[in-house]
């Protein structure tokens, strides 16, 4: 068992018993469900829209070389520098070097899960730069020195009291019970940063090949400010973000908002196609776009699971997942949690160390059903399980199934086995759940059924003649 797997089990067993945590998550997600369903019903036909979105992403991902080239060439033609990074390390180096060259002190960031994936903040801080997350949820978890809890709602696991305490401690603000007042405290603190910052870093939700633009989805306006005020703008995005055409956004923006947050569209959806142009009043003088592979091309090579690259990071599968709702976002120990995280983390970080995530699923299929781009999530979890055991079969498991197969095929031996089980099962209670218990992973959380005193076969033999 990998250490990641053990950590997952340890943390899961603590948090599933935490009723306070469960209450918070259930309340937040119930609100989400109501809003999402209302928005879904405004669609003419949600299922057809899903199919269209899936087909559009299929087209983009299965011609990724063409669309990526088109995207990059169009960007460069309008004065944007495009950098390509095969690994997270390369992307970090490119960005840290850029910041150092600009002799920058303060970096303001809008939310970007890709930057979490490559631990960009750590790298920038180690190099001596001040980095401020500007999305409210991200700002809160940054002050707590925590990773985001959820890919869309980073601070979903916290109460207003905890946030008030945090702001008192870190910002010296007065205690308050009002979410509005808390938001204004953060607003005041961050406004100064936008104006001071030399560098603005953003992610991207979509990359439009046709026009060479990124599309950024947000509600707060923090990404708008991040892309407006600092002199240099840097955008980090995964190579899978491409969409063929601008008009595709007419479908994807409402779908992302509906599935992600139960909104018709989010507050700001902004296309950026270059640095400040000659006839424009403001904007960065330089714009650098960093395209990140980081093993995405390996996932692309797995045709069976290639559709996992269709993901638009809406978080809908997390919200409906019974595992996520019980163990919470931090237990996963990964950048991407929930079903999509369980599917792609083994590809991004190694199958053997992360296969346990594909095991922690009830295979209920709620994720597949809710996914706006129709990723076959729960089938991919099964495929990961199959691949893991084919790649590194467990000798013990193989031996156990061989013995079972041998015995089950021989009625005489099966009979002897049953008798032995009946004879020795009463002794099980002396070691039940302890280290000596051979079945302890089962018995720790479940009851053991006694072997029936009489099997059906035995009963039948006795009763059919007596009829």
């Amino acid at each position: 068992m990998s250490s990641h797997s053990q950590e997952f089990l340890d943390q899961a067993s603590v948090i599933t018993r935490d009723l306070r945590h469960r209450g918070l998550i259930q309340t937040a997600l119930k609100k989400y469900e109501v809003a999402r369903d209302k928005r879904k019903s405004a669609f003419g036909d949600w299922q057809s829209a899903r199919q269209a979105a899936a087909e559009t992403k299929w087209e983009a991902i299965n011609h990724l070389d063409k669309y990526l080239t088109e995207f990059a060439d169009k960007l460069e033609a309008r004065g944007t520098k495009v950098h390509w990074a095969s690994t997270g390390e390369q992307a970090r180096d490119i960005i840290v070097k850029l910041i150092a060259e600009k002799k920058a002190k303060c970096v303001i960031k809008s939310k970007a899960m890709t930057s979490e994936e490559i631990h960009l903040n750590d790298a920038m801080e180690k190099a001596g730069f001040e980095v401020v997350e500007s999305d409210l949820g991200e700002y809160i978890v940054q002050l707590r020195k925590e990773p985001p809890y959820h890919i869309v709602f980073p601070a979903m696991h916290l109460t207003r009291d905890e946030i008030s305490d945090l702001f008192q401690r870190e910002l010296g603000s007065a205690p308050t019970q009002e979410p509005e007042e808390l938001t204004m405290i953060a607003r005041r603190a961050l406004r100064k940063k936008y104006i001071e910052a030399d560098i603005g870093i953003t992610g991207a939700n979509f990359a439009v090949a046709e026009t060479g633009m990124i599309s950024l989805t947000e509600n707060e306006g923090n990404a708008r400010l991040t892309a407006a005020l600092p002199k240099t703008m840097i955008t980090l995005l995964g190579i899978e973000k491409v969409l063929p055409k601008m008009e595709d956004l007419a479908l994807f923006l409402p779908m992302l908002a509906t599935a992600g947050a139960g909104q018709a569209v989010t507050g700001y959806n902004t296309l950026y196609g270059g640095p400040k142009q000659a006839d424009e009043a403001d904007g960065p003088e330089e714009w650098h776009v960093v395209l990140l592979d980081n093993r995405r091309s390996l996932l692309l090579a797995d045709a069976e699971q290639r559709d996992a690259l269709h993901c638009i990071r809406c978080g809908a599968c997390l919200n409906v997942c019974p595992i996520f709702r019980n163990v919470g976002g931090h237990t996963y120990g990964t950048t991407y949690s929930g079903p999509i995280g369980s599917v792609i983390t083994p590809h991004l970080r190694g199958l053997q160390n992360w296969k346990h995530l594909s095991g922690s699923s009830s295979l209920c299929g709620a994720c597949t059903e809710t996914c706006p781009v129709k990723i076959d999530l729960h089938h991919h979890l099964l495929q990961n399980r199959r691949n893991a055991s084919q790649e590194e079969p467990s000798a013990l498991e193989q031996f156990a199934y061989k013995v079972f197969g041998f015995v089950a095929n021989r009625p005489g031996m099966w009979q002897v086995g049953k008798e032995l089980a009946r004879m020795f099962q009463p002794l099980h209670k002396f070691v039940l759940g302890s280290k000596l218990d051979p079945a302890r992973t089962w018995t720790a959380t479940r009851d053991v059924q006694p072997v029936a005193p009489e099997s059906f076969k035995e009963w039948w033999r006795k009763n059919k003649s007596g009829k």
Partner: protein, 240 residues
């Protein structure tokens, strides 16, 4: 400059490496969506699907009256202050009324037909973004007044750009964003909105095109809606 050139050269080769890996990966075909891994051709939407996307998406109304009604309903939902005026004079009167009620002392705006009218009607000191501006000065303005390219009935949104709406910051930095628009700028839905943008700029796009839907908002604290997270706390659309 030398260091930057090195980064550039290094990433040129990475480009080839990444594209090479992608091309190699794509020699295998992936199953179509909704076929659960069976290699079947897509049945429902052969070719480019989005042109015909309209019927499945949320509607924006057929006639101008329906579209205005959609925009009005969406604005109420979004807490956008949507004001319909009979004519230009009435629109300017509404604007002056808001300025007085909120006690505006200074506005930020840009040069254009509609914003010029607004600025002269208000007669307040103003910051014009045209040839660059001081960030702190703009932050201290009471309102940012802009034009927009198009209004979208389906979602209650409007599109501002860095070229036609006074730059990138004007519509998000001041605490109140006021949009002055004409009724004929209203289109049915996002599909029509993006088509308009593509026609209008014909390849020569502004560096920023932003779809604005309601005032700045957040739900990051206990999923409770708060307006004015980082951008404007209020969004007013005055239309005639």
């Amino acid at each position: 400059m030398v260091a930057q050139k090195q980064i550039w050269e290094m990433s040129m080769t990475e480009r080839e490496k990444i594209l090479g890996r992608i091309r190699e990966a794509l020699t295998l075909t992936a199953p179509h969506p909704g076929t659960h891994g069976r290699h079947e051709p897509a049945q429902t939407f052969p070719g480019r699907p989005v042109q015909s996307a309209k019927p499945w998406l949320p509607d924006g109304g057929e006639t101008p009256e329906e579209q205005i009604a959609h925009f009005r309903a969406a604005s109420t939902d979004l807490k956008t202050d949507f004001r319909e005026a009979a004519d230009e004079a009435a629109a300017m009167a509404i604007l002056k009324e808001i300025a007085q009620a909120e006690g505006w002392k200074k506005i930020a705006t840009h040069r254009s037909e509609l914003t010029d009218k607004a600025a002269s009607a208000l007669g307040l000191p103003k910051l014009l973004t045209g040839g660059g501006y001081d960030k702190n000065e703009m932050e201290a303005c009471d309102a940012g007044i802009t034009e927009c390219d198009v209004l979208i009935a389906q979602t209650g949104s409007l599109i501002v750009t860095s070229r036609s709406s006074g730059g990138r910051a004007l519509s998000v930095l001041p605490p109140h964003h006021v949009v002055i628009a004409r009724r004929e700028q209203l289109v049915r839905d996002l599909t029509a909105g993006f088509a308009f943008i593509q026609r209008k700029y014909d390849g020569n796009y502004p560096s920023m095109i932003s779809l604005v839907t309601g005032p700045s908002r957040t739900g990051d604290i206990e999923r409770i809606l708060v307006l004015g997270a980082h951008g404007p706390k209020k969004l007013t659309v005055i239309l005639w």
